[in-house]
Symmetry: D2
Subunit: 492 residues, 4 copies
């Protein structure tokens, strides 16, 4: 077992005393993740994931540690990497490598390939590592070489399999061109190496895979595209669109972490300030609510007339960023689009305006433009907080270099929110593994009764008492007493 | 034209001076219904509803008057009845009968069969009348006998056609049995008479119908059931599930009218009181928000764990009605289910607790049980507000006799909300009429671009300025610049 | 006793069947006025107001009826008039005249001189009547001619005594001049008549008076002015500045009645609309909260930088009315100042903007200017709601002709709020009557322990459970266990 | 000048590179402290504090650094210590020692005696040092030995003068007894030493003092007590009771820092949780608002019926801590009293309940009882966050060891709030120094026009535009056009 731990810890998690700190945090997080703990209680005895080999690519945080140990508790074998170069909490990685019953000296955990602050080369090396199950196969005397399930966040693990197989079948990995992003070049380099070593590796991996469960909007979007182009190789469960995922994580998670991030980054009083939230989807709704809850005056921009009308009905001013640029103290992007805040916008802002993103990629704010603006100077106030002194003499404060500030300046979604998301993940893994015959190649959402189950597992912790339908009432409205209670298109 | 007006006005709208009052209110309502006014401007010139004969069954209020006149403005002929025995505003009915350009002496309006306080017999007589287009046919020298479109609310008009045709084909209307409700007996009586007079009337009517657009959850539910049983006779557009209908009317409409109704009924301070809201769907969400906005402490009950979790995350206590029965000052049911407040509940309430329903039918509260409770006394405080002195000596205040108090004690959804709903209705009528080839028998929701259009038509009035996607941004997120912007299952 | 009732009822309350309706409402109001009911229970047995002859001038509403009957229950004799020509609820007046134990045929109530819609001449005649205790004196065989206590709202009763005495001593009532307001002319006419009849009447009345308790800011302001000029004739208790009066009635009362008034007047959806509140004192704070609670976007204007900063910290935009004139849908004045909304403002408003006042006098909005604007037309939509069609073709909707719309379009403060105010009034009357030796001529607020008592008497009804200080804790923070708990300048 | 810096830096601020980090933060804080910056602009040229020697005892934070540099900018000489052993931000202390124009190598700042984590002995040594102006006197060739003004927070500096003088006059410092707290023993030890060295030192210091300006409720309370006992030695300005201090710092400051502290300490989702706030004064009001803004359900306890009624009217449940002990996830004390959360309470709490204090001393929670509870185990999760495993097996999480968690787990009040408080401080120092003849021995609040000035200086930064009274309006309501606008007892 040592070798597995070394595989990760030999890199950067060398200080194994981290593991103990991580274990403390995991213990506290378990209390805030009642859904996962309930699954351990319900499914631990029957081991539904026995035989499952799960390759996980998802932010290696304390909450993910509770997810991983839940998967293990249900019988799975797991290898893990983070899905973001900055998002690993090293103490969580260390604790998960050591394992709940292990010690730093006698580790008994899960092979984890993740540390805070990876390079892109390191990141994709890690992602490659979670597909190499040769140690486990050897231990088991088995001939498989990869996982049978992927648990993905953003789709990088899924991408690697698809691209690897594609290039293997094409006979060669294409040359990197000037038009390729740096990251795509790194991926091509990696695949060139794997193809050279094992020319059919990704074909074998793809063949072994029962399916993938995907966490995010972006990853899901990629999956639907692959499926539409008839290129998807295995079934996928879209965990993102469970109600208890997207409506909770996006709205209530961000309500928690947005103001937390602003506080930790700047200590600025939000009360009385003007905050501008780009986008009024679920993330925008949660952002606006949090800012209003701190006494800020919130202005919204929207492209979608329905969301714009919702924002107005919720009492917010809705207008374009240009029309109020010089009145705003705090900017937040929540759109998932690009260039939502442009370089021109930034040059028109108030002195010391705060600029931050909780949407998706860092291109939501034109960071590239800012970085190449002649005469702009960047001063690090503290890590993840930079003052940009603009040529006009005014400064703006950019959080997390334009990346997700709720991760970079705060600690991301809190455990309770992640418990909802991850309980969906575990149920989706079970669903794919146990009822695989129900899932042809395609993209599926979890059946509503499981979505409701996720919610149900989180009620006790909040002291919520559900009302029970009588048989007569259930029949009157035409639903089973035990649910599901709503039509599929119900919007909540 | 006189005859049409007489058809309605000869009943109860005799005092034609009402028409002038109604006209004033219609003029003010038009200002609050920008969606409908925009449709008049956009479509008035091209008359897309020319040739449409619309049978409308929907609360005959001032707002409906603006809807009716919009349909007429787009070229349609219209006959109208209310869909509820209490919901007619007589001045609106009078004004619509007189018509915008007519006078009481020279009416030029729409045949309307509706007055406040119909008996069930009168109600179904009115519903029958809107299917009799013989006057119009005679005027036009045409041989049709019925409408080609239904605009329905709750499905009563649709029901009449289906039942009439069914019994015609069966050769006889079944005898009324003891198990039938009083209302069903009234319907059977009516159909017995029509079958006797014109044995194939409803078959002809059904054959002439292009389709129906349905306003409410209940009506839509009936349509899906008919379709599932393969009994639906014509295409139906489910207007209720447009986002700009269900998420606006249910949530923002009730936020307006719930507290309005409590105020008009009781003048009781809500601040500091404990309010109990049964159900946290859209209506429950709007109710809770309104009550909290007045300083009440709101407790929620729910059967659906997802909605229950939402309520908790929004900061409400969630528990059963039984557990807090004696602490609650104001009860509100929002569920659409029955016996949500039982007789036993009512007997355990605080003295002078207020009991009200904004869900669906009056059986949401066990009014029948209350009315037959030995020793209970009913005192009318004022119309639609009754004190029930219970055998235990305590009183409860029941609003609108358990029926929808936002209609009975207040004035229902305000014009702006109805403008959203009714703009969907008009677009749905146009869609069915103009693009009928796209709609086989089935139940459809409006395409998202029309839902977005409804929202768009209401933004200017609120001073909302939309942000426009650049071509590059639209392409980046994979949507057209002009929308639609979201996948169909997006939950808003 | 008949004669007393006739004194009032012979005027307009002729329809004594009103009394029964009023009695119903009084009974419901008693439930919402726990403070007054608790005083009846506490003080009824000891009759602390035995011998008190109270002249009351305060809106003759259902709530005031509960106040009056509480005073009577504590031993007082009472005569009553309204303090506003429009504010009387006739059924309340009728019921109070009949009395709780009387019947229309055998009335046993309090002489009340008030009806809805008095002329100014009638109003001041009524005010004169409540100072004429000759019937009661005759019945008692006593030689007093007036009250020994005044309960005043706005100071009209107090004014009449002061002016009457002043003119008696001056030997003549001055001639009415062109500069005098119409109302002042009416007062002078009345006093001319009383001086002619009984030249020392007001001197005697003033001499008999132990003091006055005053309800409102305006009345209190007059009292402080009189005292500063050394002209105050008797002690006064400033009830207005009890915390449980000014911070409750102004803030929570208006939160209730502002949106109620807008709803009843216009049925306009407030959600999504822009509302402009002039002033962020207690009334402005309550107004803004109510409007926000309905989903409106609220903008504030303020002259006081402290209140302006509070508004900003509470998340509202704060600016001048001029700068947003054409964006606002609903205007509310709450200042007590004049010309807060000018004619120029009204001419710059959006079409169908709603203009209303919950501050003090109708001159808060320049109604006089509007009424004399050439080319402006006034259309009555319904009583208390007028459309003014401006020369520019746009309309504005003026509520209650610029007077207090929470009274004119709604029903004023709800019972529970008035219970707080009136419990202060009763305690103040007792304080003046029983502990008169503590009160020299001057203006006093109630001691804090009584203010706290008022609050305490309203907690049970809301299910509030107080925490009790231990002796040790009380000593640690240096307050008595039973209160008062705060220093006098504490701001709550 | 080196010697001054050494006086402080020789202790713990040895790492002078801290100064640069502190300077950055000061520069950002200046942007958020518009009141202080406006005072520099207004008063810098006239140097009203020239000749003032200010001894300051107040948390040595970044915001205090801006205060200190404002005082210096207005002409004052300053010596500074913190008023709390934990509250110093070392980088702020370093920067202030180095000075805005100095460098670590050539410091040009203010003598500052403060570092994070002082012992009580060190704390009082620091407090003593700020009264020793011998270096400055020597430099100036003057014969004074102490300050002529104190700027105090909590009253420790004032206490030292009073006690020192008292014991000097008594001829001896009393012996420490068993009943004395450890801290009082430290004070006695210190004074024993100073009396031994300079027997008349504190008498001289007291005689030189023009007065003190006091920041906090507690300090003000001590001052009123001293004055009541006729023991106050010099005038005092009660800065705490400026509206722009107590109503802003207590309410809006805590609204910011309470949730910030909970987040940094625990990362727990507050949404859906039950939070219990002990006390509904200004701090309680701000706490409740912040928690509700994050979606928590808030329950309040109160001893004062008025505040309890306010809490109910604001929609909160109000009850005793005992009655909901096992339902609460987060406890917050805000009372300033002791034993508000008892050992018994803690033993009845839910597993992992969070226990925190933002009131005053750490005895608000019975930490002493907890620390001596047999069988209770303390585990440090991270600094200022401790899990206490109770004998019953459940844990509670205690923040900041029961001390002010908004300081210990967060960064205290944000700059903008402190700008209000400190602008009051500077105006109070000017008032005492420039208009000393207006202030006999006693405790005074700042005149209202200065309170309004403080607010006024913070409006521009928030984009607030004040409305101006016309002369006519000002006269109508009887206030000067430029203010003050309210009577002294106005409650805001």
């Amino acid at each position: 077992m040592t070798s597995k731990v070394l595989a990760s810890s030999s890199f950067r998690v060398a200080d194994l005393s981290l593991a103990e700190a991580g274990r403390h945090q995991i213990r506290l997080a378990e209390h805030e993740m009642p859904g996962l703990m309930a699954l351990r209680e319900e499914f631990g005895p029957t081991q539904p994931l026995k035989g499952a080999r799960i390759t996980g690519s998802l932010h290696m945080t304390v909450q993910t540690a509770v997810l991983i140990e839940t998967l293990v508790d249900l019988g799975a074998q797991v290898r893990w990497a983070s899905c973001n170069i900055f998002s690993t909490q090293d103490e969580a990685a260390a604790a998960i490598a050591v394992g709940p019953t292990g010690t730093p000296e006698a580790p008994a955990g899960v092979p984890v390939f993740a540390w805070k602050g990876e390079t892109l080369e390191e990141y994709w090396w890690c992602t490659d590592r979670i597909f190499d199950w040769s140690v486990e196969a050897a231990e088991a005397g088995a001939d498989w070489i990869g996982p049978n399930l992927i648990l993905d966040d953003g789709g990088d693990a899924t991408l690697l399999v698809h691209k690897g197989r594609e290039f293997e079948l094409a006979g060669a990995v294409p040359a990197t061109t000037a038009a390729d992003s740096h990251e795509y070049g790194v991926i091509l380099d990696l695949l060139r190496q794997t193809v050279a070593e094992t020319p059919t590796r990704w074909q074998t991996v793809a063949a072994e895979l029962i399916g993938v469960t995907e966490e995010t909007t972006t990853g899901v979007h990629r999956l639907y595209e692959l499926f539409a182009k008839n290129e998807l190789l295995f079934p996928a469960i879209n965990v993102n669109d469970s109600v208890t995922k997207s409506k909770f994580d996006n709205k209530y998670g961000i309500r928690h972490s947005l103001t937390d991030g602003i506080n930790r980054a700047t200590d600025v009083l939000m009360g009385g300030k003007v905050a501008f939230v780009c986008g009024y989807g679920d993330v925008g709704k949660g952002s606006a609510e949090a800012l209003r809850g701190q006494g800020a005056r919130v202005i919204i921009s929207e492209i979608d007339p329905i969301c714009a009308l919702q924002a107005a009905m919720d009492g917010y001013q809705v207008t374009t960023i240009e029309s109020v640029l010089d009145q705003v103290d705090i900017f937040v992007t929540t759109t998932g689009n690009k260039n939502v805040i442009t370089l021109e916008h930034m040059q028109g802002m108030k002195h010391n305006a705060i600029v931050s993103n909780v949407g998706h990629f860092d291109n939501e704010i034109d960071m590239a433009g800012l970085e190449s603006l002649p005469g702009a100077t960047r001063v690090e106030i503290k890590p993840q907080v930079h003052e940009w002194i603009m040529p006009n003499g005014r400064s703006i404060l950019v959080l997390s270099e334009g990346r997700l500030m709720n991760l970079g300046n705060a600690t991301g979604h809190p455990s309770f929110v992640m418990s909802n998301s991850f309980t969906n993940q575990v149920l989706a893994q079970i669903e794919l593994y146990v009822r695989r015959e129900n899932y042809p190649v395609g993209v599926f959402v979890l059946p509503k009764h499981l979505d409701e189950k996720v919610a149900r597992l989180h009620l006790d912790a909040l002291g919520v008492v559900l009302t029970k339908l009588s048989t007569e009432q259930a029949s009157y409205i035409g639903v089973p007493v035990e649910g599901p209670y709503k039509v599929d298109h119900y919007r909540y």
